[in-house]
């Protein structure tokens, strides 16, 4: 039954994928990569359309870098096929060399050329350009990444974030067909990261580059990408538009990975479900079909869907106790242990300040339907 129901959930979301008629730029078919006994990536299918910005999102070690490296041609898949622009570039362990794929890459660990200056690094891929044009391009790109004054420095003498920006500028210089970005902003501060993101997005859209980016930052993934592919353990869990993935996560894993997910368990009975924060109407649940009547479900709630209000001192009312508090600047995220035993998170404006141990009532304040999963 579980399998069926998951399939049902899937079906529902799949139709949401935009039926795009733009050409396919990049395609992975059943791609697997093993390092000795280790399987880094297993049986991945992925299609990226021309001009699209796709982000691979997933926990550390799930195979993001490996996937990019196989697209770039730096690693040959153990099994499966990679096509770029309808040409098969890798199939079953053999393939076309990186330099013949017209892909650019920003390496997770930068891989700057230590014997060249910053400007020479950036100009490396365009040494066949006319000298003036080239110089102009290098200057522009350095300006873009805020390193105009660093042209003649050695990469050794740069800070971590500066190095990352040089790596970014270097990959952008030759305007490749496909740009692969491996955590290109991991070492940048928010402001710079946002600026870079915008710039990269702009450049990509303007020059019609297809981009596959890797990030561990779900906010970045959601805000910058046309589509997001969530990976876990060498597999792709879900691919879709940011909203789809965030609001209709196909699995608990995806839900949890994209935000601080909490789950409220309960049994569905007569269009109602009893949960740790009270009775919810089945209307609140996304695409629920009749067959689930009587089933135990887990309902996904995110911190912004809930509100905790303190109640009187005698502790006789309320449905939970404050057990955690995290300050994030604009808001506090409170952890509440419900009387049902579940722990949920509620986000509050930074002006509200509750104390740990306080007795609270948690209410659902979501103004959208909630995703749910058959109980495990």
């Amino acid at each position: 039954m579980h399998n069926d129901s998951v399939a049902a959930v899937r079906r529902e979301y799949e139709v949401e994928e935009p039926a795009s008629d733009t050409a396919t730029m990049l395609q992975l078919d059943g791609v697997t990569k093993r390092y000795g006994p280790e399987t880094a990536v297993e049986d991945i299918d992925l299609t990226v359309r021309d001009g699209e910005f796709l982000t691979l999102l997933g926990p550390s070690g799930c195979g993001k870098t490996t996937t990019l490296r196989m697209i770039a041609g730096l690693e040959m898949p153990t099994n499966g096929r990679v096509s770029v622009d309808d040409d098969v570039v890798a199939a079953d362990g053999d393939g076309v060399a990186p330099e013949e794929r017209d892909v650019g890459m920003v390496f997770q660990e930068f891989a700057l050329f230590p014997h060249l200056t910053v400007a020479e690094n950036v100009g490396f891929g365009i040494d066949d350009w006319d000298a003036d044009e080239r110089e102009q391009r290098v200057t522009d790109l350095l300006e873009l990444v805020g390193l105009g004054d660093f042209a003649d420095r050695s990469p050794d003498n740069l800070s971590g974030g500066q190095r990352q920006r040089v790596a970014l500028a270097r990959s952008l210089a030759p305007e490749p067909d496909v740009l692969l970005l491996d955590e290109p902003f991991a070492n940048l501060d928010v402001r710079l990261r946002e600026r870079m993101r915008e710039e990269v997005r702009r450049i990509i859209k303007e020059t019609d580059v297809t981009a596959v980016s890797v990030t561990h930052d779900q906010e970045e993934a959601l805000s910058i990408s046309d589509r997001v592919a969530v990976m876990s353990n060498g597999h792709i869990e879900q691919v879709g538009r940011p909203e789809t993935v965030f609001e209709h996560p196909k699995s608990r894993f995806v839900a949890d990975f994209l935000g601080q997910a909490s789950f409220l368990g309960g049994r569905l009975a007569r269009n109602k479900i009893e949960t740790g924060i009270g009775t919810l109407s089945a209307d609140m649940l996304q695409g629920l079909s009749d067959e689930y009547d009587g089933a135990r479900l887990d309902v996904l709630v995110r911190p912004d869907d809930l509100r905790a209000t303190p109640c009187d001192e005698e502790m006789q009312t309320g449905n939970g106790t404050l057990v955690g508090r995290q300050y994030t600047g604009p808001s506090f995220v409170y952890g509440v242990e419900l009387d049902s035993g579940e722990v949920v998170h509620c986000e509050h404006n930074h002006a509200t300040n509750h104390e740990l141990g306080e007795r609270v009532t948690v209410d659902l304040v979501a103004d959208h339907k909630l995703a749910w999963y058959p109980a495990e």
Binding site: G104, M105, F107, R170
Partner: protein, 544 residues
């Protein structure tokens, strides 16, 4: 013909497959072919040894090989190899550390001075030592009025000391090269983990500079194995000496037989070394950390300076002083044109050594590259094969080239190209070792980056690998240059007629007994080599 060609290509393809590293970083077939070609070329002269050895009857061969005296010198040789290698490491590694990682005053100066002993032909050094420290030597005469007698310099200990003093720079230079490109951040990491410099050095640096150290130690070991002059002067019987005696008495068959035994020792040492795992896989070096020296010597500064000064005195001051004395003492004697020193000799030396350095560097490149980039057995074999020519006494190699040259390549015989080829065969491992360890330091991701930026493998090699390994390549070529400058046996036998170099000149006056006259050319040798070291270190400076 065509079939043969495709067979060759199949072979190369097969080799290439065997050489492909698991990381998918394949070596271009042309590079592999070049590596194989070089290896075959440098091993080819050895065919002759087997040819000659075959002249000796089986029974006789056996009796020679198991003769007690043969076994004794065999054991002697092994003992000498072991002790010289040990002492060289004990001298070379600390000196390399002092000049790279610490705030020793005048590091540049010491670096040059401490590399120079390499250019003093060790037999000259031995002569100087015997005249200075031998019985009735200068020192003994100075001390005898005081009633002090010095222990004898002859024998095992003396031979070890003298050889080690003049060959430790192999270890010094290769260790230095590894240290210079070592990622200093790791040392920093170790220090923040409460490991003092010493312990951090032992646990972090040492294992990673091991390939460089081992390369140097192997060079020392095989030098000790193949050197004839020094042990002879130091009254210590070694295998090579027996081989020389045979050659000097037309026993080419026996000598070849013994040479084969020497090759056996070589193989044994190489095997032992790879068992010890000295050449472990490379570690991607990163950018160097801060350029400030990592360790401050503190109160050790004075002892450290004294140590450097002592080594420099023993290796440079003593020989130069002794030769100067001989020069003064030799009196009028016979002065003739045949012994007149000409500056052209120095020019010839530099000229041929420079060519040899460049050619050897080029020949080393494919082998170093293939063996560093691939962990396969074949690649290892290619690299190891280069040691063969180095471990064989120069005279053996030279005669084999006489045979091959005169009979099969008469147009090359007694020309510079053949002489240079002899140098390549003799000194290739010096260049391969240094180059290989710098190839190991190149982070594979850098090549990946170049490839994704549109460079072909050869383009990536030219624009990224080559500049990054340049220090290693130059260091290797410099080693070849220095050793070619002083190479004697092959030069003497294979030089173009009328082409006199510093060393053949030194040989001429020595052979005639005019030791004093060696002072000037020996000095020129040292100075010219010092100049080349300065050039080398400048190169290193721009890259570090």
């Amino acid at each position: 013909m065509e079939r043969g060609d495709s067979g060759v290509w199949r072979l190369i393809d097969g080799l290439r497959e065997a050489l492909d590293s698991p990381t998918g970083d394949d070596s271009h077939p042309v590079v592999v072919a070049a590596a194989v070609l070089v290896a075959v070329a440098v091993v080819s002269p050895l065919l002759w040894i087997f040819l000659r050895a075959a002249d000796v009857g089986l029974a006789e061969a056996w009796s020679i090989l198991v003769a007690p005296s043969t076994i004794e010198v065999f054991v002697n040789s092994l003992a000498l190899v072991a002790s010289v290698t040990l002492v060289s490491v004990v001298l070379g590694v600390p000196l390399a550390v002092l000049t790279v990682l610490t705030d020793l005053p005048f590091r540049r100066f010491w670096t040059i001075v401490l590399s120079l002993p390499l250019v003093v032909p060790s037999y000259l050094g031995a002569f100087a030592f015997v005249s200075a420290f031998g019985p009735h030597g200068t020192l003994a005469e100075l001390l005898s009025p005081l009633g002090i007698t010095i222990p004898t310099i002859y024998g095992f200990e003396g031979a070890t000391l003298v050889l080690a003093l003049f060959v430790y720079p192999y270890v010094f230079l290769t260790t230095r090269a590894s240290l210079v490109s070592f990622d200093a951040r790791q040392l920093e990491a170790a220090q923040t983990l409460n490991h003092g410099f010493r312990s951090a050095f032992r646990r972090v640096v040492l294992p990673q500079i091991a390939p460089g150290m081992t390369a140097g130690a192997l060079l020392v070991a095989f030098y000790a194995l193949s050197d004839f002059g020094t042990p002879a002067i130091m009254h210590f019987d070694t295998f090579t000496r027996v081989i020389y005696v045979q050659y000097n008495n037309f026993g080419r068959g026996t000598a070849s037989l013994l040479s084969i035994q020497l090759l056996g020792v070589t193989a044994l040492v190489l095997l032992l070394e790879s068992r010890l795992g000295g050449d472990g896989a490379g570690y991607g070096g990163g950018v160097a950390g801060s350029d400030t020296p990592v360790a401050s010597l503190g109160w050790l500064t004075v002892p450290a300076l004294a140590f450097c000064a002592l080594v420099a005195t023993l290796t440079l001051v003593v020989p130069v002083a002794i030769f100067g004395m001989w020069l003064l003492r030799s009196g009028p004697g016979y002065v003739g044109g045949g012994f007149a020193f000409e500056w052209a000799f120095a020019m010839n030396s530099v000229y041929v050594a420079a060519i040899a350095a460049v050619v050897t560097g080029l020949a080393a490149l494919p082998i170093a590259y293939v063996s560093a980039r691939s962990g396969s057995r074949v690649a290892r074999l290619l690299e190891r094969s280069t040691y063969v020519g180095y471990a064989v006494p120069g005279i053996v190699l030279a005669l084999s080239l006489v045979f091959l040259g005169a009979n099969y390549l008469p147009w090359l015989y007694q020309t510079l190209p053949l002489l240079v080829f002899a140098y390549v065969v003799r000194f290739l491992p010096q260049a391969v070792g240094a180059t290989r360890s710098s190839v190991l330091q190149v982070d594979a991701d850098l090549l990946g980056a170049a490839r994704t930026l549109g460079e072909s493998p050869s383009g990536a090699f030219r624009r990224v690998t080559l500049p990054l390994i340049a220090p290693g390549l130059v260091a290797g070529a410099a080693l070849v240059f220095l050793t070619t400058m002083k190479e004697l046996p092959a030069t003497l036998i294979l030089h173009p007629t009328g082409f006199t170099t510093l060393v053949t000149y030194i040989w001429r006056v020595q052979e005639a007994g005019y030791y004093g006259r060696a002072a000037l050319p020996a000095l020129v040798l040292v100075v010219v080599s010092a100049l080349s070291m300065i050039l080398l270190l400048r190169q290193e400076g721009t890259n570090a």
